[in-house]
Structure formats: C-alpha cells, structure tokens
C-alpha cells in the first residue's frame, strides 16, 4: 500500500465519501419514457443515461443514496445529473461543454445559396421550386445581383464561407457561375477568407469542359439520385430522355475528373420510393457512395400540389426503419456504409459536438447558418423560404440584395423569426428529453401549420425526429454491435 504523504493533494476515497451528508442537488436534465421498462435521462449538454422506468422519480424525490445505490449515484454525479454542492465544482466544465454544443453560432452565416437560375430542363413532379422553361433568360440571376450577393457574403464574420449554386438547373447558367467563382476567389484571397464552392445539378448538362473547370477551381458537385432507374425516372422526369442514365453518366464522369469524394448525391422520398427502401439503399451502395441520406419530401412548392407526393410521417418512418435495416446489414458484413440523417443525430447523441446541418439546430440554422440569394434579388432565410415565395408566400423574405447587411441579418423580419427559432423556448420542446438532439424549424411549421411557432402534438417535424431519435437509441441499447457501427459512422473509421 502506498503511504499517504503529507503534501499529497489527492485524498483517500473515504475522505471524499465523508464530505457529504447524503443530500444532493439536481442539475438540469430532462427525461422521456423509451418504452414500458426504460426511461432516458438527458442532461443539459446531451449526455444520457438509460435507466429503469421510475428512476427519475426516485432521483427527484431524493430516494437514492451513495450507500444504497452507489453505482447509480456515481453515474449521476459523474455525468452531471446531480451535484453534492449547490454550485457544481466543475460548472465551468459544464459551461464549456454547453458552449461546444452551440459552437455553430460562433461564426454566423456560412452557407450562401445563390439561385443562379430558375430555368430547368427537367419537369420533376415534386420539384420544390417552381421551374420555368429553359428559354426564359429573365429567370437567371443578373450580374448586378451576383455582385451584390458576393459583397454581402463577404461581410459575414464567418472565416469560411460556402457559395452554393442552385437552380432550377444551375448549369444552364454556367457562364454566370464562372463569373461568380472567379470574382469570389479573387476577393477571398485578398481578404483572407476560405471559400468552398458547390454546384447543385442534375448532371444532365455536365461535360468534360465544365468538370475540368470545376477541378481547376475546386468546385464540389452535389446531385440528385432517387434510387434505381424505375424510381428515379418516375420521380425526375426529363422530356425525351432518361434522367437516371444522364445522372449516372454524369456521376461517373465527375468522379473520373474530380475524384470520388468530390461528388455527393441526395435522394428525395416519394410515395413510390416508400415501397422500395431496399432497392434505393442498394442503388447507393452499388454506385459506390459511402452512405445515403434518407430524406422525406419537403412540404413546399410543387411537392404538395400532387397526391403523388403526399404521405404520412408514419409511412416515412416505416420506410426509414426498413432502409436503415438494410444499411446495417451492409455494415454487419464489414462494409462502411452510413445513413446521414442518423449520423447527424448520433453526432449530437454520442459526442460533445454538434453538426453543421442547418435543419436540426437550435437556434435554427436559418440566417445563423444559411442565407439564400434568389435569382430575382430577393433574400430569403432558407432554401425552403424561397420555395414558399414561389407560391406567393413571402413570410421569410428578409429583403433584397439592395438592402444593407444589418437590415437583412438583424432587421425586423430576422428578429420576428428569432422569437421562435430556439427549441429551448418552445412549448412542447422546452422540457423534451431530446431537445439537445433536435432543433427548431419555423419555416416547416409555417408551411405545414400556418404558424411559425408550431404546434408540437401535430407537427410532422416533431413526430419524425422524436421517433427516429428514440429508435436509434433503442437500437444501440439492444445490440452493442450496432452501437459500435454507429460510433464508426461518427468517427468515419
């Protein structure tokens, strides 16, 4: 046994155990019943414990003690659920953890979406944007608006901005993209900001010349792939051609010229997709993507004008679980293949960090993380906001590119939205155990419920997030090997 030294500051365990008379103080935490047997406790920084149902009551009623429930007591102390002192001696650690979770607020707006053209040669039935014909030049962003958008983008305090070109079909206005990229590169170099470029395109118009330009200017490609040909072509109609064939050809060519990791794809779940979760996952796997992002259809724009794209959240969740099951099968076989929505939640659940995913943040990602400069000079809080505008709903229009930066980002409209962009202060969310893993989406609630504050009991956003988070936690708890897989998704190993 090591002898105690007079000058040693660490004391024996008995010293620490005798410091407290058995009483304890609660630290902020929330709880939720997972099922009949278990409940989850989540503290202010997202650390969780899964305990037998009724444990919260025993904690709150001071019915646990160091002597009789030593293991639980130790877990609660170590994980910041209770404290033996009124002010926890490590409160600065807890505050630092909280700051880390909210780190995305540190730099303000990063993603700047330029709707470079509203023209499109596809006629996708679910298109979130009201597309117009290929021939109408008046639907391209003017050079004056591009200049003004760049000027505003570089006023962001964020040292690393992203300039994303969207449409319509962005490549229909490739000359304007070139102008914007070259001008922005020059300014970024002069003022010492980092900039990332992304073109969102269906790849139908892509060619070697465009891709070599992208390579030279380090432009990333983001495309759409809804699944195998039968689903993709049904969802994404292109007159007199197979959209799928063009997308696949474009993905291959892009990978060849830019590199595998410079091309990403997104899928949108339609009613047709709901019947084919396995085939859709297989398509992404067979195409060599490292994962898939299972996205439900956005309740905006053309998407809700047709019965073809309406389905309940229950149906999406059923689809999601089947698809996730298939993804896990690939992982059980030793392949690294992720589901990106799960990865976002899991980062929040299993790590001290948050993600840059603007749809799942509190305060919401709109304005704080993303801003949209529309082709016509309108400035919107999110991509979805400009989709609403195409339906003559200008609720989330912050102004125009002719306005001052402070009026756009801190003006009356931004302040109005700010009242409802933190789930910590929303009815139904304020005491939700999954608050730290979730976010606020005023645009979604305005679009679906006519009120940006939102009503959680009928909110599809709430229903989807609650169930998927609960399901991911249940999977991890039921199978240690699933937890290992999920951890590998976060650590990217």
């Amino acid at each position: 046994m090591i002898e105690s030294k007079a000058n040693r500051k660490f004391k024996e365990a008995a010293f620490y155990n005798s410091q407290n008379d058995g009483g304890y103080f609660l630290l902020p935490f929330k709880f939720h019943r997972l099922n009949g047997e278990k409940e989850i406790l989540v503290n202010e920084v997202g650390d969780y414990l899964i305990l037998p149902t009724g444990t919260t009551a025993t904690i709150v009623n001071r019915q646990i003690s160091k002597e009789n429930n030593s293991e639980l007591y130790g877990d609660l102390i170590a994980n910041f659920f209770i404290s033996e002192e009124a002010i926890h001696p490590l409160i600065d650690v807890l505050a630092t953890r909280y700051r880390t979770k909210k780190h995305f607020l540190n730099y303000f707006t990063g993603l700047h979406i330029f709707v470079i053209s509203l023209r499109c040669e596809h006629t996708c039935f679910y298109c979130q944007v009201s597309r117009v014909t290929e021939n109408r030049d008046q639907y391209d962003m003017s050079i004056q608006n591009i200049d003004r958008g760049i000027e505003i983008m570089f006023k962001s305090p964020n040292p690393h901005v992203t300039m994303e070109f969207q449409g319509g079909e962005a490549l229909l206005a490739f000359d304007n993209i070139k102008y914007a990229v070259e001008k922005s590169e020059k300014i970024a170099g002069e003022i010492g900001k980092q900039i990332t470029f992304v073109i969102c395109t269906n790849l139908a118009l892509v060619n070697e010349e465009i891709l070599y330009y992208c390579k030279e200017h380090k432009i990333l490609i983001s495309t759409s792939l809804d699944g195998p040909q039968s689903i993709h072509d049904s969802n994404r109609h292109k007159p007199h051609a197979s959209s799928y064939a063009l997308a696949i050809k474009g993905i291959k060519l892009s990978r060849e010229i830019l590199g595998e990791d410079q091309v990403s794809a997104l899928m949108t779940t339609t009613t047709l997709s709901l019947e084919h979760p396995i085939e859709i996952v297989d398509e992404y796997y067979n195409m060599g993507f490292p994962g898939i992002f299972l996205r439900n259809i956005s309740p905006y724009g053309f998407a809700l004008r047709t019965e073809k794209s309406k389905y309940s959240t229950d149906k999406f969740i059923e689809f999601y679980k089947k698809a996730l099951g298939r993804i896990l099968e690939y992982n059980f076989q030793g392949h690294y293949f992720t589901e990106d929505l799960a990865r976002i939640y899991l980062t929040k659940i299993l790590t001290p960090f948050n993600t840059g995913f603007v749809d799942m943040q509190s305060p919401a990602g709109l304005i704080n993380g993303v801003i949209v400069f529309n082709y016509d000079g309108g400035v919107y809080a999110t991509d979805e906001s400009r989709m609403l505008a195409e339906q003559k709903d200008f609720t989330f229009k912050l102004g125009t590119l002719n306005d001052e930066y402070k009026d756009l980002f801190f003006g009356a409209k931004a302040q109005e939205i700010a009242q409802v962009w933190s789930n910590e202060a929303l009815a139904g969310c304020s005491e939700c155990a999954f608050q730290a893993y979730c976010g606020a989406d005023p645009v979604h609630h305005h679009a679906t419920q006519g009120d940006m504050y939102g009503y959680r009991p009928t909110s599809a956003f709430c229903q989807k997030n609650m169930e998927i988070i609960r399901y991911l936690i249940e999977l991890m708890e039921s199978e240690p090997k699933i937890k290992k897989i999920f951890e590998s998704w976060i650590s990217k190993k």
């Binding site: 040693r8 202010e44 002010i87 505050a95 909280y98 009991p457 009928t458």
Partner: protein
C-alpha cells in the same frame, strides 16, 4: 370529499391535488392532448384541480380506448410534475451554465489548487 378519477359520458375526469401538482405541470401535460381532445382545467374545490378531456369528433377514439387514455393522462401528469420540479429546482444553475457558456471569460473562476502541481508531488512543499 374524496375525488375519484373516472370516465363519465365519454369524458375522462382526473383530479390533481393543488399541493402536489403545479398549474404549470398541468398545462404542459394537457398541451400534448390538444390534438385529440377538448381539454379543460378547473378547481373541483379549494384543494383539487379537476382536469377533463373529451375526444374530438375527428379523433376516432372509441370508448374502449378511453380507459387507456385515462391511465396515460394520470401517468403523464406525474411525469410533467417531475419535470416541473427539475426545471424549477435547476433554473438558477441552468442560467449560470448558459451565462458562463456565452461569456467571454468574465465569469470564469480560477480552478482551486496549484495549477503547476495539481496532485501535490512537489517535494519542496
């Protein structure tokens, strides 16, 4: 007078002692029933709240389901009361955590002890 929770004329009636349940907990609990039920809170007498919920005509809840909903309401009231206790007991510490998190160091305190010799192995002492 003893109040018994019951289902009467298609309406679930649950009583909550005012000493045991806060008004905040009641309203936060009932918030989650508004999509399927008409909800109301009143005083049964000076010591008891009377909570009533009645299915909306559009909610497709049959009479057999009411007993389950009664059980759920009774359980949820307790859960929301627990949440209310935690929220109110921890409000100050939560404010402190957030103030410290978003401060520029002005609320930070020096850690106790000698930073250069945190475990006390310095033989010269």
């Amino acid at each position: 007078m003893a109040h018994i929770n019951c289902i009467k004329d298609g309406e679930i009636i649950v009583f909550a002692n005012t000493l045991l349940f806060s008004k905040d907990a009641l309203f936060k609990c009932l918030y989650w029933y508004g999509d399927k039920f008409h909800t109301s809170v009143s005083f049964a007498d000076v010591d008891n709240y009377c909570v009533k919920i009645k299915p909306l005509s559009t909610a497709a809840i049959n009479s057999e389901d009411l007993e389950l909903y009664q059980q759920k309401l009774e359980r949820d009231l307790i859960d929301f009361q627990l949440r209310d206790v935690v929220t109110k007991e921890t409000q100050n510490i939560r404010d402190l955590i957030i103030a410290k998190a978003f401060s520029n160091g002005e609320f930070d305190e020096d850690p106790p002890g000698d930073v250069s010799d945190p475990v006390g192995f310095n033989p010269s002492l």
